[in-house]
């Protein structure tokens, strides 16, 4: 039975199998069986999260192994629309990142279109807490928070350290900092509203954003909400939906954006560390970065988050996606405006 998946806002989607339904389970068992080379029985499929662009399920299965039947958990994730990078490309980036020593969930299979499973990927299940407010506040993760700056700095240095040829054959976007800024400004003018603090940030960033060509692949959305954290720290880097060719500071600055600190503003790196801790970990792992240029990209990151708030609000205001959640996000623009004014007027955030 083909059903419409439960996407956040009822955006039009292709007809795809419900992975928790009988036909969906059968398709999952088939895809997993092919990938593992052994029969697989699906025991349970549990919806974990559904966003506007992507939805995630946990798949509990039983597989045959030489030692007898074994229980295994997987993650099934699929795109809710055709706006993003195809999962097959994301999976290949993850495989190649894993080869560099970046902790990523192991890619098990990319189901073919004829499975009816949609644009999706099956990965191994990695233990860890995905909810940042939980691992940022809970005492059980105190040691993890101590370890995270080193672990994130190291993971990013490994990713950024790969030569461009490591990503050959993958259709990934590429652009300089100043190009990213002009694209963001074009979006701002398309929406057509006036936010004085945003224009302040655009004017401040224009002479500062670098023209230099991309030097490496960046994750593109490396933040405290997109990593899995266990009692000892980082267990996996998730959400490889936005990788592109850029400069290292884009990832490092994005990790410092106020919104991912979840209130712990005294710890600029994701709410868990000082900038210096991230920079020294990054350099110790072979990366090169200057504090000045990190700051420029941090301001850019805050503006980019503010622009996301504006765009989500515009979905509601324009009538494209009527939603109380998106309308409310529109008022978060004031938070980002205050952050940008503080950053530029006082030189810190």
């Amino acid at each position: 039975m083909a059903t419409r998946p439960a996407t956040a806002e009822g955006r039009e989607t292709l007809s795809m199998l419900d992975p928790a339904g009988a036909a969906g389970r059968e398709a999952l068992a088939l895809a997993l069986g092919q990938a593992l080379g052994a029969p697989v029985a699906i025991r349970d499929v549990v919806a974990l999260s559904g966003g506007a662009n992507s939805a995630t399920w946990r798949v509990d299965a039983e597989t045959e192994s030489p030692e007898g039947p074994a229980s295994r958990r997987f993650i099934f994730q699929r795109s809710a629309n055709a706006l993003g990078l195809p999962r097959r490309v994301q999976a290949e980036v993850m495989r190649r990142a894993a080869g560099l020593g970046v902790p990523v969930p192991p890619v098990i299979a990319v189901p073919a279109p004829e499975t009816g499973l949609g644009d999706s990927v099956i990965t191994g299940f990695v233990e860890g807490e995905a909810l940042a407010p939980r691992w940022l506040r809970d005492d059980r993760y105190a040691a993890a928070r101590e370890a995270l700056a080193l672990q994130c700095g190291t993971a990013l240095a490994r990713l950024h350290g790969a030569p461009r040829s490591h990503w050959d054959g993958l259709p990934l976007a590429s652009g300089s900092g100043s190009e990213l800024l002009s694209n963001l400004f074009a979006t701002y003018r398309r929406i057509g509203v006036d936010v004085p603090a945003f224009d302040l940030a655009f004017a401040w960033l224009r002479p500062r954003m670098p023209d230099r060509s991309p030097t490496c692949l960046v994750h593109g959305d490396f933040r405290s909400g997109n990593i899995l954290v266990g009692p000892d720290g980082l267990t996996a880097v998730l959400d490889w939906e936005l990788p592109h060719h850029s400069v290292p500071e884009e990832d490092l600055g994005w990790l410092c954006v106020q919104a991912w600190r979840f209130g712990a503003w005294q710890k600029p790196v994701g709410g868990f560390a000082a900038r210096e801790a991230l920079l020294s970990a990054y350099r110790a792992a072979g990366g090169t970065v200057e504090a000045d240029s990190l700051w420029t990209w941090e301001v850019f990151g805050n503006l980019k988050w503010g622009m996301s708030c504006l765009q989500l609000a515009d979905d509601h205001v324009s009538g494209r996606v009527p939603s109380v959640e998106r309308a409310a996000i529109g008022r978060r623009v004031s938070e980002v405006a205050a952050d940008l004014v503080h950053a530029i007027a006082r030189g810190d955030l």
Binding site: D194, V195, P196, A197, D199, L200, A201, F202, A203, W204, Q258, G263, W265, V324, E325, A327, A328, R331, R332, S334, E335, A337, A338, D339, V341, H342, I344, A345, R346, L349
Partner: protein, 112 residues
């Protein structure tokens, strides 16, 4: 007064949403919570007038539209101390309504 004020009507709906939030399934419950937060913004906006406050803060620069245009055209500098002070007042006025508990608000209210 014999009939509830706009403020009292809002409070009544806020109470109702609180009740509904607990009874609704996860996703709808979350939206009820968001809706409650939205009404809190509306209630604060009935008291304050952030649009006028922003215009007043930026009056020397032609209001919000004037400041934006000046920064876009380059006739205003992002390093201008008077502009930065005015933008700080404007940001504070908006955040007082939109999220008075946001940490950066208290930091902006401190003297630099």
């Amino acid at each position: 007064m014999s009939h509830p004020s706009a403020r009292q009507l809002l409070e009544a709906v806020q109470l109702f949403l609180k009740e509904a939030e607990a009874a609704l399934p996860q996703r709808l419950g979350f939206h009820a919570k968001v809706a409650g937060n939205v009404l809190a913004i509306v209630a604060r906006e009935l008291e304050a007038d952030p649009d006028s406050a922003e215009q007043a803060a930026l009056s020397a620069f032609g209001g919000a539209a004037g400041a934006c245009a000046g920064l876009r055209e380059g006739s205003l500098s992002p390093a201008d101390p008077a502009l930065l002070a005015a933008l700080t007042r404007a940001a504070v006025a908006r955040l007082d309504v939109d999220n008075p508990r946001y940490p950066t608000l208290a930091r902006l209210k401190e003297q630099p």
